[in-house]
Every structure is written in structure tokens, then in C-alpha cells.
Symmetry: none
Subunit: 216 residues, 4 copies
DNA sequence: GATGAATGAGCCTTCATTCAT
DNA sequence: GATGAATGAAGGCTCATTCAT
């Protein structure tokens, strides 16, 4: 085989491979969309793979060419949501002056994300129990979300701007409070405005954790 | 048959009946114990009746002589825990001077109960998702627990002693914060003392909801 | 051991044994009564041994001291009914002048028995299917009932007083027609008198099988 | 997409759909065949779905892709047989001059069908008991078969061409006599010819019910 | 001897997952 | 590569039958 032929084939393979990956990604997206909706509505055990496939527009077997298992679909959904939250948080927190401001802005970001993605919120609500105990694949995605919040709170603790000394707990509480408030928001028909929701959350969080409400 | 013989038999029957009931109760207890452990560890769908039976020391069929179905076992566990919480809360809240004090004391009570029954806490953690959406039989037992908290908060709102205007949300948030803090407590090895745990919770709750921390 | 002691013991044993047998018989009777009612109402598979025991006034285990199995209870019921029919038939047929008259009188007898024992009739109705094929214990009792009828019809055939040449079939048809007519009788509220019922049956049977209706 | 492509796809889809339906129908057929055999031999309760699946050449789950439940398989069998009988009866009865002739021809038709489908006959024999009492789903298919016979006999009664006044009873008797005769026919090895069988049945029926055997 | 509590074997049905096409 | 038909492995629950009392 000549070098040029080899190169050509590599390119072709590369192209094919890239096309393939693009398709796979598109498929994954369709599956995740359907699965998010269904997991939100019926929970993990209440969701059937056949239904996921159908709603995604595939045959079950096709679904299994892009996802290894039911759990891996679920994991991917968690992953996706977590990244969404992290991105939204990071975007807002970028210009924050203090550590506490970073927390506030992060929560603003994540709150906004969850309001915009109520199905993901609902999936989270089914999941709450797994937070602390289960080491299953289902929950591994959460580690990263916590880590961001945790390190932010750790800074706050260092600077003495918050009450409390366990950054992990504070991060978990923050998420729990967010989820609860948003769950209630859904429950009451999602009528309150996104901004009002968010500011109410921030106010509560400030009362709960910030050292002084008057001064930063 | 003489009167005395009749009386003797009645007494015997009474004793037998009481003995039978006692045994049934003991069996229920054994089943609930095993089921609580397993539901705590694996959740509702992840728990197998055969395993519950085995861990309770029975054959599957025996279990079905004291419980009608898997769901009824689960309901009984929820019921038991809810009553435990309500009792503990009521006991502490009895002498409370103000509505807000009642909230505080109720939380002291329920916090204590959950610390003493970590498996029930874990069951609750699996269940969280159902709060907002499902009105299934599984969660019906929760209605009572919420109602107590809710009406307490409603009183607080009337009296202007708390920030916020949705007693349902406040009750939910209180539960969520409790569960989260206790989950973290379990996660870190349950080392902190019961009292320290509880007072930390109370302090946080006060910051989050009470109108003024200096004055009542 | 002396001869007299031996004799005494034998007598005692005999007495005990007879008493025991009497009790056993009484127990059997109670069980059969309950079982007949239940088998009549729910059929074989739909009847639960626990229910039979309860309605008989025993514990399940006691029932199993007088009957080996569910099937043996069922068999006994069939046996009992079959003997009842045979006795009633034989009593009537005793003075019959001709073979055909014997048939008629037999049917009069069995018809009367079935009318007087509608539960046994209903058990038979559940059973019809087993007539021809199953060699299970459940059906063995029927052999005798058929045999009586069969031999009667065989005589009729010999004497040329009936149409047809298969005495077994004629016996089976006779039973089937009886059961059907009586089932309808039950279905319509058992209002028609026993005599009218019986005579209607006899008339039909005569039309169906007898060579000449005018002469014997 | 061009019009021709669209058309082509529609055609293909149509073909595929038809192929799928054909396969489903074929599967149903295989299941019914196996189930008929097993129900005939062991009755409803004595037949295991796993065995039905195995004898049909499927895994249990496959069977449940074509039938909803055990009962629905049974119902389908009854339905199938009842329709077979009705068709066969109707085909023969079409040109009948009188009501009684219609009865005769109907019986000729159903007799022929049952002779050709002895397993269905045996299923019927298990079912007999349900005639009189149960209005369960299992027996609902029978209503149609009875109704045909009943209305035929009602006409005969109106016209005074039969002895008796209860068309329901007459229909039931007719079925019982048919089943009995055919059961005997099976019992004796199914040796007699179909025609002889049928004519013997007709002759008997005529003797049993027709007003005058000489004149119509 | 009578009991009734206890059981194990089994049945119907479901669903995540995988070949044959 | 996509399919969807096919499946095996469970899982909840029942009931005829039997020991321990």
C-alpha cells in the first residue's frame, strides 16, 4: 500500500467516522429528548425502553446502538442536565466580585436553567433520594454539580461570609431548596415569573446562609 | 356446659385471641423491620418480596398472611414513620408559646425521630420525588405529616412571625432541609451528636423563615 | 399375657376403634356437606380447601385427617351422589315388569334424587366434560352409575324394546338429557313441581328411545 | 421525495404491513392450535401458558405479543369454534323449507363441524357446566350459538311442529345430545362414518322433538 | 387428636435486551 | 446500519398440604 493510498483511506475513514459520529450524536439527542420527558413523568422504573424508543422515533434495537442500557440513558440525562446547570451557573458567576456573589449568581444561573427545563427538574425530583447514599452509576453525574457549588461555598467559608462550616452540606441544601421551591412552582401551575421565582430563591438563600444581609 | 366452664373457655379464647394478635403484630414488626431496611437500601421497585420474606425469617406466603401486598407493606412503613414523626413533633410542640415556637419544637421532634430512625429517613429520601406530582396510594400517608406543618406555618403567617406567604411551600422546604441535613449527617458517618444536629437545624430554619431573630 | 387380658384389650381396642370410626364418619359427613355446596357453586378449581374446612367447622389440617387430598374429597362427593342415584333408581325399578319399565323407573328415581339434591346436580354439571375422556380419579365413581343404566338398556336392546344398539351411549344420553333438563329447571328458578319435571323427562325419554309409544 | 417514490414506499409499507398481519395471524393460529389441544386435554385451569407457548414453538413472552392473557386465548378458541359451528349450520340451513328443517340442517352442520374438530368438542365438554350458571367472560361466546338454535326452536314452537314449549331448553338439550353422542363417538375410536353419525343424531332428534315423524 | 400457622412449588405476566433480516 | 420480532429471566402472589403445639 502506498503512503498516499493510506492517507486517502485515513481521510475517508475519518470522514466516514465523523459522519457516523454526527449521526450517533443526533440519535442520542432524540433519545434523550424522549427519555427526559418520560423519566420526568414516570420515574426511572416506571419508564419503559420500548416507549422511549417509540417516542424517539426509533426501534428499540436502534436505541441500543447509541446507548448501552437503560441506566446509561438515564445517566446521560443527568449528565446533560448537570452540564446545563454548570454552564448556566458559570456564565452568571463569571464577573462576581465576591465568593458569596458567585454563589448567588450561580444559583441565579441554575435556577434559570431548571425553570427553563422543568422536565429535568422533575427528573431530579424523582432522584432526590439517591443523593447521599447510592453509589450507582445513576448518581455519578451529580458529583460535578456539587463540586462547583462546594468549592464556591468553601471560599465563602474561608472568607467568613457564610454561616456554617460544611461546604458539601451547604451545596446540597442549596440544591434541595431550589428543587423544593421549583417543585412547588410547578405544582401551582408555573404561574410566577422566572425573575420573581429566582429572586425569592436568592432572598431565602441569603437569609439562610449569608453572614450579614446589610453588608457584603 | 356449666357457667364456670363457659367462663373458663371464654377466658382461654380471649387469651388465645390476644396471643394470636400479639404474634401477628410481632410478625408485622419483623416484616416491617426487614422491609424498612430493604426499601431504604434499594427503593420500592428495587426491593423483592422474596428478599423481604427471607430477611424477616419467613417464607413468601407467610408474609402474605400479615400483609396483603407489596404496596401495603410500603404503606405501612410510611404510616409508621409518619406517625412516629407526628408523635414526636406533637410531644415537643405541646407547650409551645407561639406558633413559631411550635414550628421549632415540631422540627426538634421530627428531627429527633429521623435521627433515631435513619432507615426511615432513607426511605423518605427515595420518596421525595413523589411530593410534588403523584397522589398515589404510596404517598397518601404523607398528607397528614404535611398538614400539621402547613397549618403551623399558616398560623405563623397570620401572626406575621415568618417571611413568606405560602405555608405549603414552607412546610415542604422545612422537610427538604431536614432531610438534606440528615442525609449529610448519615453520609459523614452519623458522628455529630443528636442535639448538635438538631440545634444546627433549628438555627438554620430560624434564619430562613423567622421574621426577626432578636425579638419574637 | 393371659388370654383374658388379651381378649379384654381386643374388646377395648375394638370399642375405641369403633368410636374412632364413628367420629371419622361424622367428620367426613361434615366435610362432604360443605364441599358439595362449594364445588356446586365454584367448581373444582374454584373451590379452596381452606374454605371447605372453614364451612365444615374444621381446621384445614383436621380435614386432612379424614381425606387424603382435595381430589379424594371430590371423588367422595361423586361417589355419594352416584350411590344416592343408584339407590333411588333401584328402589323404584324393583317391581318393574319390563326392561323398559325398569329404565323408566330408574330415571324416575334418579330424577327425583337430583331434584332433591340440586347441589349434586350442579357438581355434575361442572363435570360433564370428564365423562368420556379423563381417566382421572375424579371420574371413576361414574362407572357404576353408567353400569346400572347400561345393563338396563342392554336388556331393552336384547328385547327389541328400544331404538339403538349402543347401551353405553344410551345411558350417557339419558344422563345428559336429565342433567340438561334439570339445569334448565334450576336456571328458571326451580318452580316446576318435581312430578311434572319427572314426567316431562319420562315422556321425552320415551319419545327418544322407546320402540313404540302405544304398546309396551 | 418524488410522487413515484412516495407511491413505491406506500406500496412497500402496505406489503410490509400485510406481511406483518399475516405473520401475526399465523402466530395466532399456532397458538390457538396448541392451546386448543391443551385445553381439550387438561381444561382451562389445568393448562399452563408456558406449555401452550412451548407447544406453539414460542417463548412465553412471544405468546403475549399476540394474546393479551390466558383468558383471551381461551375466548378466542371458543369464538373460533362457535363461528365454525354457526357457519357450518348456516350454510346447511340456508335452503331449508320449514323451521324444523332448519333445525335439522343446523344440527347437520354443527355435527359435521364438531366431528371435524374433535378437540373443540372436548373443550366444549369441559365447558358444559358453565351453561347453566356462570355468565363469565369465558362463556360469552356461547350466547350467539344458543341464540341461533333458540330462535329456530321458537319458530318451530310457533308453528306447532315440535313437542315442548321452552326453546331455550330445547336448544340446550340439542347441544347436550350432540355432545354426548360425539363424546361417545370419540370414546369408541371415532370409527363410525361422519354421515352415519350425523344421521343417527338427526333421527334421534326427530324422535325427541318433532311432532309427527310421518308428516312434516 | 385437633389445630392453624407456615410453607414451597408454581403460575401468569412483564420488560430490558438482542439476533435474524 | 436499522429494524422489530423474539426472548429469558424474574417477580408478585396463591393454595394444597403439613408440622409444631
Amino acid at each position: 500500500m502506498t503512503a498516499s493510498a493510506s492517507r486517502a483511506r485515513a481521510a475517508r475513514t475519518g470522514r466516514i467516522s465523523r459522519a457516523k459520529e454526527a449521526k450517533q450524536a443526533a440519535y442520542r439527542e432524540l433519545v434523550l429528548e424522549a427519555a427526559l420527558r418520560l423519566f420526568a413523568e414516570h420515574g426511572y422504573d416506571g419508564t419503559k425502553m420500548e416507549e422511549v424508543a417509540k417516542q424517539a422515533g426509533f426501534a428499540p434495537a436502534t436505541l441500543y446502538t447509541v446507548f448501552r442500557s437503560k441506566e446509561s440513558v438515564y445517566e446521560a440525562i443527568l449528565e446533560q442536565g448537570v452540564w446545563g446547570i454548570l454552564d448556566a451557573s458559570a456564565a452568571r458567576a463569571r464577573g462576581a466580585a465576591t465568593a458569596w456573589d458567585s454563589v448567588i449568581e450561580s444559583v441565579r444561573g441554575s435556577h434559570g436553567y431548571l425553570i427553563d427545563h422543568p422536565d429535568f427538574l422533575r427528573v431530579q425530583l424523582w432522584e432526590t433520594g439517591s443523593w447521599a447514599f447510592e453509589e450507582s452509576a445513576k448518581t455519578s453525574a451529580w458529583a460535578r454539580a456539587f463540586e462547583g457549588m462546594r468549592s464556591l461555598y468553601a471560599s465563602c467559608i474561608e472568607r467568613g461570609s457564610v454561616i456554617g462550616d460544611d461546604p458539601v452540606l451547604m451545596a446540597q441544601l442549596t440544591l434541595a431548596m431550589q428543587q423544593t421551591q421549583l417543585a412547588r412552582w410547578l405544582e401551582t401551575g408555573a404561574k410566577q415569573s422566572k425573575e420573581a421565582q429566582t429572586e425569592q430563591m436568592i432572598a431565602m438563600l441569603t437569609r439562610t446562609f449569608a453572614v450579614s444581609h446589610a453588608t457584603k
